[in-house]
Amino acid sequence: MLEVRGLSKHFGGVRAVDGIDFSIRPGEVFGLIGPNGSGKSTTVNLVCGLYQPTAGEILFEGKDIAPVPTHRRLSLGLARTFQNIRLFANLTVWENLWMAENAPSHRAETRFLKRWIGGRSDARERITKALEFSGLAHRADDLAGSLAFGEQRRLELARALAAKPRLLLLDEPAAGMNAEEIAQLDERIRALQQQGYTILLIEHHMELVMAVTDRVCVLNFGRKIAEGTPAEVQADPAVREAYLGTAQ
Protein backbone atom coordinates (compact mmCIF):
# COMPACT_ATOMS: atom_id res chain seq x y z
CA MET A 1 0.00 0.00 0.00
CA LEU A 2 2.75 2.43 0.97
CA GLU A 3 6.21 1.84 -0.30
CA VAL A 4 9.21 3.88 0.69
CA ARG A 5 12.38 3.50 -1.38
CA GLY A 6 15.75 4.97 -0.53
CA LEU A 7 14.14 7.87 1.29
CA SER A 8 16.55 10.54 2.54
CA LYS A 9 16.15 13.91 4.14
CA HIS A 10 19.09 16.11 4.97
CA PHE A 11 18.89 19.35 6.96
CA GLY A 12 22.06 21.16 6.13
CA GLY A 13 24.69 18.64 7.10
CA VAL A 14 22.41 16.57 9.30
CA ARG A 15 21.13 13.38 7.76
CA ALA A 16 17.84 13.02 9.59
CA VAL A 17 16.70 10.21 7.35
CA ASP A 18 19.28 8.41 5.28
CA GLY A 19 18.11 6.02 2.61
CA ILE A 20 15.45 3.94 4.30
CA ASP A 21 13.13 1.44 2.64
CA PHE A 22 10.02 -0.28 3.88
CA SER A 23 6.62 -1.19 2.59
CA ILE A 24 3.27 -1.54 4.22
CA ARG A 25 0.73 -4.09 3.10
CA PRO A 26 -2.98 -3.35 3.08
CA GLY A 27 -4.72 -4.13 6.32
CA GLU A 28 -1.67 -4.41 8.54
CA VAL A 29 -0.52 -2.39 11.50
CA PHE A 30 3.06 -1.42 10.72
CA GLY A 31 5.27 -0.12 13.49
CA LEU A 32 8.10 2.38 13.02
CA ILE A 33 10.29 2.54 16.09
CA GLY A 34 13.64 3.84 17.13
CA PRO A 35 15.33 5.85 19.86
CA ASN A 36 14.93 9.60 20.09
CA GLY A 37 16.26 11.41 17.06
CA SER A 38 16.33 8.31 14.92
CA GLY A 39 14.27 9.95 12.18
CA LYS A 40 10.81 8.57 12.87
CA SER A 41 8.94 11.85 12.87
CA THR A 42 10.89 13.10 9.88
CA THR A 43 9.75 10.03 8.01
CA VAL A 44 6.12 10.73 8.85
CA ASN A 45 6.49 14.34 7.81
CA LEU A 46 7.99 13.20 4.52
CA VAL A 47 5.10 10.85 3.90
CA CYS A 48 2.62 13.62 4.70
CA GLY A 49 4.38 16.10 2.52
CA LEU A 50 5.42 18.60 5.18
CA TYR A 51 9.01 18.07 4.02
CA GLN A 52 10.25 17.39 0.53
CA PRO A 53 12.61 14.40 0.44
CA THR A 54 16.25 15.00 -0.47
CA ALA A 55 16.29 11.71 -2.31
CA GLY A 56 14.21 8.58 -2.74
CA GLU A 57 10.57 8.05 -3.50
CA ILE A 58 7.35 7.44 -1.68
CA LEU A 59 4.82 5.31 -3.52
CA PHE A 60 1.25 5.20 -2.35
CA GLU A 61 -0.76 2.50 -4.01
CA GLY A 62 1.90 2.37 -6.69
CA LYS A 63 1.93 6.12 -7.45
CA ASP A 64 4.78 8.46 -6.61
CA ILE A 65 3.28 11.10 -4.34
CA ALA A 66 6.26 13.43 -4.16
CA PRO A 67 4.65 16.11 -6.35
CA VAL A 68 1.31 15.95 -4.52
CA PRO A 69 0.95 18.96 -2.22
CA THR A 70 0.39 18.30 1.46
CA HIS A 71 -3.27 19.14 1.59
CA ARG A 72 -4.01 16.85 -1.36
CA ARG A 73 -2.50 13.84 0.34
CA LEU A 74 -5.58 13.49 2.47
CA SER A 75 -7.51 13.15 -0.76
CA LEU A 76 -5.32 10.20 -1.65
CA GLY A 77 -6.33 8.52 1.56
CA LEU A 78 -3.52 9.48 3.93
CA ALA A 79 -4.51 10.89 7.30
CA ARG A 80 -2.41 11.46 10.36
CA THR A 81 -2.23 12.44 14.00
CA PHE A 82 0.59 14.45 15.52
CA GLN A 83 3.13 13.69 18.20
CA ASN A 84 2.34 16.99 19.96
CA ILE A 85 -1.36 17.23 19.53
CA ARG A 86 -2.32 19.75 16.86
CA LEU A 87 -5.96 20.50 17.25
CA PHE A 88 -7.63 23.76 16.33
CA ALA A 89 -7.74 24.83 19.95
CA ASN A 90 -10.14 27.73 19.50
CA LEU A 91 -12.57 25.80 17.37
CA THR A 92 -15.18 23.63 19.03
CA VAL A 93 -14.86 19.87 19.10
CA TRP A 94 -17.61 19.71 16.54
CA GLU A 95 -15.87 22.15 14.21
CA ASN A 96 -12.61 20.25 14.46
CA LEU A 97 -14.30 17.24 12.97
CA TRP A 98 -16.13 19.38 10.48
CA MET A 99 -12.77 20.41 9.06
CA ALA A 100 -11.95 16.94 7.91
CA GLU A 101 -15.27 16.74 6.14
CA ASN A 102 -13.79 18.01 2.92
CA ALA A 103 -12.13 14.74 2.25
CA PRO A 104 -11.97 13.45 -1.29
CA SER A 105 -14.10 10.48 -0.64
CA HIS A 106 -16.94 12.92 -0.11
CA ARG A 107 -15.92 15.35 -2.72
CA ALA A 108 -17.47 13.92 -5.81
CA GLU A 109 -20.82 13.58 -4.16
CA THR A 110 -21.29 17.21 -3.11
CA ARG A 111 -21.45 20.36 -5.13
CA PHE A 112 -18.71 22.91 -4.63
CA LEU A 113 -20.75 25.60 -2.90
CA LYS A 114 -22.51 23.26 -0.61
CA ARG A 115 -19.28 21.58 0.36
CA TRP A 116 -17.65 24.86 1.33
CA ILE A 117 -20.53 26.56 2.94
CA GLY A 118 -22.57 23.91 4.62
CA GLY A 119 -20.56 20.78 4.30
CA ARG A 120 -22.25 17.59 3.27
CA SER A 121 -25.80 17.13 4.37
CA ASP A 122 -25.10 13.83 6.04
CA ALA A 123 -21.95 15.25 7.61
CA ARG A 124 -23.85 16.13 10.74
CA GLU A 125 -24.85 12.54 11.20
CA ARG A 126 -21.36 11.23 10.59
CA ILE A 127 -19.76 13.72 12.93
CA THR A 128 -22.22 12.76 15.63
CA LYS A 129 -21.30 9.13 15.15
CA ALA A 130 -17.60 9.87 15.23
CA LEU A 131 -18.03 11.82 18.45
CA GLU A 132 -19.89 8.95 20.02
CA PHE A 133 -17.22 6.49 18.90
CA SER A 134 -14.59 8.65 20.64
CA GLY A 135 -16.72 9.25 23.70
CA LEU A 136 -16.74 13.01 23.13
CA ALA A 137 -20.39 13.54 22.32
CA HIS A 138 -21.05 15.47 25.51
CA ARG A 139 -18.31 17.97 24.70
CA ALA A 140 -19.25 18.75 21.12
CA ASP A 141 -19.71 22.46 21.70
CA ASP A 142 -16.68 23.01 23.90
CA LEU A 143 -13.50 24.50 22.55
CA ALA A 144 -11.00 21.82 21.66
CA GLY A 145 -8.35 23.62 23.71
CA SER A 146 -10.42 23.12 26.86
CA LEU A 147 -10.41 19.32 26.63
CA ALA A 148 -8.36 17.10 28.91
CA PHE A 149 -5.23 15.62 27.40
CA GLY A 150 -6.67 12.17 26.77
CA GLU A 151 -9.77 13.68 25.21
CA GLN A 152 -7.64 15.77 22.90
CA ARG A 153 -5.83 12.66 21.70
CA ARG A 154 -9.13 10.97 21.03
CA LEU A 155 -10.43 14.00 19.19
CA GLU A 156 -7.36 14.16 17.03
CA LEU A 157 -7.80 10.52 16.11
CA ALA A 158 -11.48 11.11 15.38
CA ARG A 159 -10.50 14.02 13.15
CA ALA A 160 -8.11 11.85 11.18
CA LEU A 161 -10.74 9.15 10.82
CA ALA A 162 -13.40 11.60 9.66
CA ALA A 163 -11.59 11.81 6.33
CA LYS A 164 -12.05 8.06 5.84
CA PRO A 165 -8.40 7.44 5.09
CA ARG A 166 -7.05 4.18 3.77
CA LEU A 167 -3.75 4.62 5.56
CA LEU A 168 -3.66 6.13 9.01
CA LEU A 169 -0.42 7.53 10.38
CA LEU A 170 -0.30 7.65 14.15
CA ASP A 171 2.67 9.68 15.39
CA GLU A 172 3.39 8.59 18.96
CA PRO A 173 -0.23 8.32 20.05
CA ALA A 174 0.73 6.98 23.48
CA ALA A 175 2.98 9.91 24.38
CA GLY A 176 1.97 11.27 27.75
CA MET A 177 -0.61 8.58 28.44
CA ASN A 178 -0.92 6.49 31.59
CA ALA A 179 -1.14 2.71 31.63
CA GLU A 180 -4.89 2.62 31.59
CA GLU A 181 -5.16 5.00 28.68
CA ILE A 182 -2.57 2.99 26.78
CA ALA A 183 -4.63 -0.14 27.27
CA GLN A 184 -7.61 1.70 25.78
CA LEU A 185 -5.49 2.87 22.89
CA ASP A 186 -4.37 -0.69 22.30
CA GLU A 187 -7.98 -1.77 21.97
CA ARG A 188 -8.86 1.13 19.73
CA ILE A 189 -6.03 0.38 17.32
CA ARG A 190 -7.12 -3.22 17.08
CA ALA A 191 -10.68 -2.13 16.48
CA LEU A 192 -9.52 0.16 13.69
CA GLN A 193 -7.58 -2.65 12.09
CA GLN A 194 -10.67 -4.78 12.16
CA GLN A 195 -12.64 -2.02 10.47
CA GLY A 196 -10.18 -2.34 7.62
CA TYR A 197 -7.77 0.53 8.23
CA THR A 198 -4.12 0.17 7.40
CA ILE A 199 -2.04 1.82 10.10
CA LEU A 200 1.48 3.16 10.31
CA LEU A 201 2.26 3.44 14.01
CA ILE A 202 5.23 5.50 15.11
CA GLU A 203 5.82 4.78 18.73
CA HIS A 204 8.23 4.94 21.56
CA HIS A 205 6.30 2.78 23.89
CA MET A 206 7.62 -0.76 23.33
CA GLU A 207 4.87 -2.75 24.96
CA LEU A 208 2.21 -1.13 22.83
CA VAL A 209 4.17 -1.66 19.65
CA MET A 210 4.92 -5.26 20.44
CA ALA A 211 1.27 -5.87 21.29
CA VAL A 212 -0.51 -4.38 18.31
CA THR A 213 1.80 -4.36 15.30
CA ASP A 214 2.08 -7.01 12.65
CA ARG A 215 5.50 -5.93 11.47
CA VAL A 216 8.03 -3.44 12.76
CA CYS A 217 10.79 -1.39 11.19
CA VAL A 218 13.53 -0.08 13.48
CA LEU A 219 15.43 3.13 12.74
CA ASN A 220 18.59 4.45 14.29
CA PHE A 221 20.45 7.61 13.28
CA GLY A 222 18.22 7.86 10.23
CA ARG A 223 19.01 4.38 8.96
CA LYS A 224 16.99 1.22 9.05
CA ILE A 225 18.63 -1.34 11.29
CA ALA A 226 16.03 -4.07 11.36
CA GLU A 227 12.62 -5.11 10.03
CA GLY A 228 10.35 -8.03 10.82
CA THR A 229 7.72 -9.26 13.19
CA PRO A 230 7.85 -7.87 16.71
CA ALA A 231 9.40 -11.06 18.00
CA GLU A 232 12.11 -11.10 15.32
CA VAL A 233 12.97 -7.52 15.92
CA GLN A 234 13.19 -7.96 19.65
CA ALA A 235 15.71 -10.70 19.17
CA ASP A 236 17.89 -8.67 16.83
CA PRO A 237 21.23 -7.78 18.45
CA ALA A 238 21.52 -4.51 16.52
CA VAL A 239 18.20 -3.37 17.94
CA ARG A 240 19.20 -4.33 21.46
CA GLU A 241 22.40 -2.38 21.04
CA ALA A 242 20.58 0.68 19.74
CA TYR A 243 18.17 0.67 22.60
CA LEU A 244 20.38 -0.43 25.44
CA GLY A 245 23.67 1.04 24.34
CA THR A 246 26.91 -0.78 23.66
CA ALA A 247 28.11 -0.62 27.22
CA GLN A 248 25.70 -3.33 28.25
Binding site: T70, H71, F82, L91, A103
Partner: protein, 306 residues
Amino acid sequence: MDFYYSLAQIIGFHTLLGLSAYIVLQTGQVSLAQAGFFAIGAYVAGMLTVLAGWHLVPAMLVAGLGAALMACLVGFPALRVRGLMLVIATLAFGEAVRLFFFNFDYQIAKGEVKIGPLGGEGFRQIRWFPENGWTSLEVMLFVWTVVALVAGALWWNDRSRFGAVLRAVGEDEVAAQSVGINLTAVKVTAMTIGGFIAGLGGAIYAHYTTHIEHLNFNVLLATFAIAYPILGGLRSVFGTIVAAIFVQGFLVEGLRFLGDWRNLLFGALIVLAMNLRPHGLIDAATARRLARLFSREQWRGEQRRA
Protein backbone atom coordinates in the same frame (compact mmCIF):
# COMPACT_ATOMS: atom_id res chain seq x y z
CA MET B 1 -29.37 65.28 13.90
CA ASP B 2 -27.26 65.89 10.83
CA PHE B 3 -24.20 65.45 12.96
CA TYR B 4 -25.22 62.06 14.30
CA TYR B 5 -26.03 60.84 10.80
CA SER B 6 -22.63 62.01 9.70
CA LEU B 7 -20.97 60.29 12.63
CA ALA B 8 -22.83 57.09 11.79
CA GLN B 9 -21.46 57.31 8.25
CA ILE B 10 -17.92 57.62 9.57
CA ILE B 11 -18.44 54.63 11.83
CA GLY B 12 -19.91 52.82 8.86
CA PHE B 13 -16.92 53.05 6.56
CA HIS B 14 -14.51 52.46 9.40
CA THR B 15 -16.46 49.31 10.21
CA LEU B 16 -16.06 48.17 6.62
CA LEU B 17 -12.34 48.83 6.86
CA GLY B 18 -12.22 46.81 10.08
CA LEU B 19 -14.25 43.97 8.62
CA SER B 20 -11.90 43.78 5.66
CA ALA B 21 -9.07 43.11 8.10
CA TYR B 22 -11.26 40.87 10.23
CA ILE B 23 -11.67 38.18 7.62
CA VAL B 24 -7.96 38.24 6.80
CA LEU B 25 -7.05 38.10 10.49
CA GLN B 26 -9.15 35.00 10.91
CA THR B 27 -6.66 33.10 8.79
CA GLY B 28 -3.92 34.32 11.12
CA GLN B 29 -2.59 36.90 8.69
CA VAL B 30 -2.03 40.43 9.96
CA SER B 31 -2.34 42.61 6.91
CA LEU B 32 -1.35 46.27 6.84
CA ALA B 33 -2.26 46.49 3.18
CA GLN B 34 -5.93 47.20 3.88
CA ALA B 35 -5.43 50.97 3.67
CA GLY B 36 -4.02 50.39 0.18
CA PHE B 37 -7.13 48.47 -0.91
CA PHE B 38 -9.24 51.18 0.71
CA ALA B 39 -7.35 53.74 -1.39
CA ILE B 40 -7.92 51.76 -4.58
CA GLY B 41 -11.64 51.62 -3.81
CA ALA B 42 -11.73 55.34 -3.10
CA TYR B 43 -9.93 56.39 -6.27
CA VAL B 44 -11.69 53.93 -8.58
CA ALA B 45 -15.17 54.78 -7.31
CA GLY B 46 -14.41 58.50 -7.34
CA MET B 47 -13.15 58.37 -10.91
CA LEU B 48 -16.18 56.39 -12.04
CA THR B 49 -18.76 58.75 -10.56
CA VAL B 50 -16.91 61.99 -11.28
CA LEU B 51 -15.16 61.32 -14.59
CA ALA B 52 -17.41 58.67 -16.09
CA GLY B 53 -20.63 59.90 -14.52
CA TRP B 54 -21.67 56.49 -13.19
CA HIS B 55 -24.24 55.83 -10.54
CA LEU B 56 -22.59 55.22 -7.17
CA VAL B 57 -23.74 51.63 -6.71
CA PRO B 58 -22.13 50.14 -9.82
CA ALA B 59 -19.10 52.36 -9.20
CA MET B 60 -18.78 50.90 -5.73
CA LEU B 61 -19.03 47.36 -7.00
CA VAL B 62 -16.36 47.96 -9.61
CA ALA B 63 -14.20 49.68 -6.98
CA GLY B 64 -14.63 46.66 -4.71
CA LEU B 65 -13.76 44.28 -7.51
CA GLY B 66 -10.71 46.32 -8.44
CA ALA B 67 -9.46 46.26 -4.88
CA ALA B 68 -10.27 42.55 -4.67
CA LEU B 69 -8.26 41.85 -7.80
CA MET B 70 -5.27 43.68 -6.36
CA ALA B 71 -5.68 41.87 -3.06
CA CYS B 72 -5.77 38.55 -4.86
CA LEU B 73 -2.55 39.39 -6.69
CA VAL B 74 -0.87 40.35 -3.41
CA GLY B 75 -2.24 37.29 -1.70
CA PHE B 76 -0.08 34.87 -3.66
CA PRO B 77 3.39 36.24 -2.95
CA ALA B 78 2.36 37.23 0.58
CA LEU B 79 1.64 33.57 1.30
CA ARG B 80 5.31 32.88 1.48
CA VAL B 81 5.78 35.03 4.56
CA ARG B 82 4.24 34.77 7.96
CA GLY B 83 3.95 36.60 11.21
CA LEU B 84 5.78 39.87 11.53
CA MET B 85 7.37 39.44 8.11
CA LEU B 86 3.90 39.45 6.62
CA VAL B 87 2.98 42.55 8.60
CA ILE B 88 5.92 44.40 7.10
CA ALA B 89 5.47 42.97 3.62
CA THR B 90 1.86 44.09 3.52
CA LEU B 91 2.80 47.44 5.03
CA ALA B 92 5.28 47.90 2.22
CA PHE B 93 2.66 47.01 -0.33
CA GLY B 94 0.08 49.36 1.16
CA GLU B 95 2.60 52.19 1.17
CA ALA B 96 3.52 51.43 -2.44
CA VAL B 97 -0.17 51.77 -3.38
CA ARG B 98 -0.40 55.07 -1.51
CA LEU B 99 2.73 56.37 -3.22
CA PHE B 100 1.37 55.26 -6.55
CA PHE B 101 -1.58 57.57 -6.04
CA PHE B 102 0.84 60.27 -4.93
CA ASN B 103 2.30 60.08 -8.43
CA PHE B 104 -0.98 59.51 -10.23
CA ASP B 105 -2.28 62.30 -12.45
CA TYR B 106 -5.33 61.75 -14.58
CA GLN B 107 -7.26 64.89 -15.21
CA ILE B 108 -9.77 65.72 -17.88
CA ALA B 109 -11.29 69.08 -18.67
CA LYS B 110 -14.93 69.49 -17.78
CA GLY B 111 -16.15 72.90 -18.71
CA GLU B 112 -13.51 75.35 -17.63
CA VAL B 113 -12.17 73.31 -14.73
CA LYS B 114 -10.07 70.21 -14.79
CA ILE B 115 -11.27 67.31 -12.73
CA GLY B 116 -9.74 64.05 -11.62
CA PRO B 117 -6.86 62.93 -9.44
CA LEU B 118 -3.89 65.27 -9.46
CA GLY B 119 -0.99 63.57 -7.70
CA GLY B 120 0.00 65.16 -4.43
CA GLU B 121 -2.82 67.70 -4.56
CA GLY B 122 -5.46 65.03 -4.46
CA PHE B 123 -8.76 64.45 -6.16
CA ARG B 124 -11.38 67.12 -5.61
CA GLN B 125 -15.16 67.37 -5.89
CA ILE B 126 -16.38 63.82 -5.50
CA ARG B 127 -19.84 65.17 -4.78
CA TRP B 128 -22.16 62.42 -5.93
CA PHE B 129 -24.28 62.45 -2.78
CA PRO B 130 -25.09 66.18 -2.56
CA GLU B 131 -25.34 66.58 -6.33
CA ASN B 132 -28.03 63.94 -6.37
CA GLY B 133 -29.81 65.51 -3.45
CA TRP B 134 -29.22 62.76 -0.91
CA THR B 135 -29.84 63.92 2.63
CA SER B 136 -27.54 62.91 5.48
CA LEU B 137 -30.17 60.49 6.70
CA GLU B 138 -30.41 58.82 3.33
CA VAL B 139 -26.65 58.56 3.01
CA MET B 140 -26.44 57.07 6.47
CA LEU B 141 -29.12 54.50 5.68
CA PHE B 142 -27.32 53.64 2.48
CA VAL B 143 -23.96 53.26 4.22
CA TRP B 144 -25.41 51.09 6.94
CA THR B 145 -27.28 48.96 4.44
CA VAL B 146 -23.91 48.18 2.88
CA VAL B 147 -22.38 47.58 6.31
CA ALA B 148 -25.28 45.35 7.30
CA LEU B 149 -24.98 43.33 4.12
CA VAL B 150 -21.26 42.85 4.55
CA ALA B 151 -21.43 42.21 8.29
CA GLY B 152 -24.37 39.87 7.79
CA ALA B 153 -22.51 37.93 5.14
CA LEU B 154 -19.47 37.64 7.38
CA TRP B 155 -21.59 36.72 10.40
CA TRP B 156 -23.18 33.98 8.39
CA ASN B 157 -19.79 32.95 7.06
CA ASP B 158 -18.54 32.59 10.63
CA ARG B 159 -21.20 29.97 11.10
CA SER B 160 -20.52 28.23 7.80
CA ARG B 161 -17.96 25.60 7.17
CA PHE B 162 -15.78 28.02 5.26
CA GLY B 163 -15.68 30.30 8.28
CA ALA B 164 -14.48 27.43 10.41
CA VAL B 165 -11.88 26.61 7.76
CA LEU B 166 -10.58 30.18 7.92
CA ARG B 167 -10.20 29.94 11.67
CA ALA B 168 -8.64 26.49 11.40
CA VAL B 169 -5.95 27.95 9.13
CA GLY B 170 -5.44 30.75 11.62
CA GLU B 171 -5.05 28.26 14.44
CA ASP B 172 -2.61 25.81 12.96
CA GLU B 173 -1.50 25.76 9.36
CA VAL B 174 0.20 22.37 9.56
CA ALA B 175 -2.81 20.67 11.07
CA ALA B 176 -5.02 22.42 8.54
CA GLN B 177 -2.98 21.01 5.68
CA SER B 178 -3.13 17.59 7.20
CA VAL B 179 -6.91 17.65 7.25
CA GLY B 180 -6.91 18.51 3.58
CA ILE B 181 -7.26 22.28 3.64
CA ASN B 182 -5.57 24.07 0.77
CA LEU B 183 -3.75 26.92 2.51
CA THR B 184 -3.13 28.85 -0.68
CA ALA B 185 -6.75 28.81 -1.72
CA VAL B 186 -8.02 29.74 1.72
CA LYS B 187 -5.57 32.56 2.39
CA VAL B 188 -5.87 34.09 -1.04
CA THR B 189 -9.66 33.87 -0.86
CA ALA B 190 -9.67 35.60 2.52
CA MET B 191 -7.35 38.29 1.20
CA THR B 192 -9.53 38.79 -1.87
CA ILE B 193 -12.74 39.07 0.13
CA GLY B 194 -10.96 41.46 2.48
CA GLY B 195 -9.84 43.53 -0.51
CA PHE B 196 -13.39 43.69 -1.83
CA ILE B 197 -14.77 44.88 1.50
CA ALA B 198 -12.01 47.47 1.87
CA GLY B 199 -12.76 48.64 -1.67
CA LEU B 200 -16.42 49.19 -0.78
CA GLY B 201 -15.38 51.08 2.33
CA GLY B 202 -12.97 53.23 0.35
CA ALA B 203 -15.67 54.06 -2.19
CA ILE B 204 -17.94 55.31 0.58
CA TYR B 205 -15.08 57.19 2.19
CA ALA B 206 -14.28 59.07 -1.02
CA HIS B 207 -17.89 60.14 -1.38
CA TYR B 208 -18.11 61.10 2.26
CA THR B 209 -15.10 63.40 2.25
CA THR B 210 -15.55 64.60 -1.36
CA HIS B 211 -11.78 65.07 -1.62
CA ILE B 212 -9.15 62.39 -1.31
CA GLU B 213 -5.40 62.55 -1.34
CA HIS B 214 -2.72 59.96 -0.82
CA LEU B 215 -1.90 61.11 2.72
CA ASN B 216 -5.34 59.94 3.85
CA PHE B 217 -4.33 56.35 3.22
CA ASN B 218 -1.23 56.20 5.36
CA VAL B 219 0.15 53.61 7.78
CA LEU B 220 -2.01 55.00 10.55
CA LEU B 221 -5.16 54.11 8.65
CA ALA B 222 -3.75 50.65 7.96
CA THR B 223 -3.10 50.24 11.68
CA PHE B 224 -6.67 51.28 12.42
CA ALA B 225 -7.93 48.64 10.02
CA ILE B 226 -6.40 45.88 12.11
CA ALA B 227 -7.07 47.70 15.36
CA TYR B 228 -10.84 47.38 15.02
CA PRO B 229 -10.98 43.59 14.81
CA ILE B 230 -8.19 43.19 17.38
CA LEU B 231 -9.87 45.54 19.84
CA GLY B 232 -13.09 43.79 19.00
CA GLY B 233 -11.67 40.45 19.98
CA LEU B 234 -11.62 38.64 16.62
CA ARG B 235 -14.43 36.41 17.74
CA SER B 236 -17.32 37.92 15.93
CA VAL B 237 -18.22 40.67 13.50
CA PHE B 238 -19.97 42.41 16.37
CA GLY B 239 -16.64 42.90 18.06
CA THR B 240 -15.37 44.81 15.04
CA ILE B 241 -18.50 46.96 14.91
CA VAL B 242 -18.29 47.63 18.64
CA ALA B 243 -14.63 48.55 18.29
CA ALA B 244 -15.32 50.95 15.41
CA ILE B 245 -18.00 52.59 17.54
CA PHE B 246 -15.61 52.63 20.51
CA VAL B 247 -12.81 54.27 18.54
CA GLN B 248 -14.75 56.61 16.24
CA GLY B 249 -17.73 57.29 18.47
CA PHE B 250 -16.06 57.32 21.88
CA LEU B 251 -12.35 58.04 21.52
CA VAL B 252 -12.61 60.44 18.57
CA GLU B 253 -16.04 62.12 18.81
CA GLY B 254 -17.18 61.33 22.33
CA LEU B 255 -14.08 62.77 23.96
CA ARG B 256 -14.00 65.89 21.82
CA PHE B 257 -15.27 67.93 24.77
CA LEU B 258 -11.94 67.24 26.45
CA GLY B 259 -10.26 69.55 23.97
CA ASP B 260 -6.50 69.39 24.27
CA TRP B 261 -6.56 66.25 26.34
CA ARG B 262 -8.46 64.18 23.85
CA ASN B 263 -5.61 63.22 21.59
CA LEU B 264 -3.36 62.47 24.53
CA LEU B 265 -6.00 60.17 25.96
CA PHE B 266 -6.51 58.51 22.60
CA GLY B 267 -3.24 56.59 22.69
CA ALA B 268 -3.38 56.10 26.44
CA LEU B 269 -6.85 54.58 26.29
CA ILE B 270 -5.80 52.12 23.61
CA VAL B 271 -2.91 51.05 25.84
CA LEU B 272 -5.25 50.78 28.78
CA ALA B 273 -7.88 48.84 26.85
CA MET B 274 -5.31 46.28 25.74
CA ASN B 275 -4.05 45.92 29.31
CA LEU B 276 -7.52 45.45 30.73
CA ARG B 277 -8.89 43.31 27.94
CA PRO B 278 -5.99 41.73 26.06
CA HIS B 279 -8.36 39.49 24.15
CA GLY B 280 -10.44 42.39 22.95
CA LEU B 281 -13.56 44.17 24.07
CA ILE B 282 -15.64 41.18 23.05
CA ASP B 283 -13.43 38.22 23.91
CA ALA B 284 -14.07 34.52 23.56
CA ALA B 285 -16.30 34.24 26.62
CA THR B 286 -18.46 37.22 25.68
CA ALA B 287 -18.63 36.12 22.09
CA ARG B 288 -19.81 32.66 23.05
CA ARG B 289 -22.46 34.13 25.29
CA LEU B 290 -23.56 36.28 22.38
CA ALA B 291 -23.37 33.42 19.95
CA ARG B 292 -25.52 31.21 22.15
CA LEU B 293 -28.25 33.82 21.94
CA PHE B 294 -28.87 33.27 18.32
CA SER B 295 -26.76 30.59 16.81
CA ARG B 296 -27.66 27.29 15.45
CA GLU B 297 -25.81 25.59 18.26
CA GLN B 298 -29.07 25.30 20.09
CA TRP B 299 -30.57 23.77 17.06
CA ARG B 300 -27.59 21.51 16.72
CA GLY B 301 -27.92 20.55 20.36
CA GLU B 302 -31.53 19.62 19.78
CA GLN B 303 -30.50 17.54 16.81
CA ARG B 304 -28.12 15.61 18.96
CA ARG B 305 -30.58 15.03 21.71
CA ALA B 306 -33.19 13.79 19.28
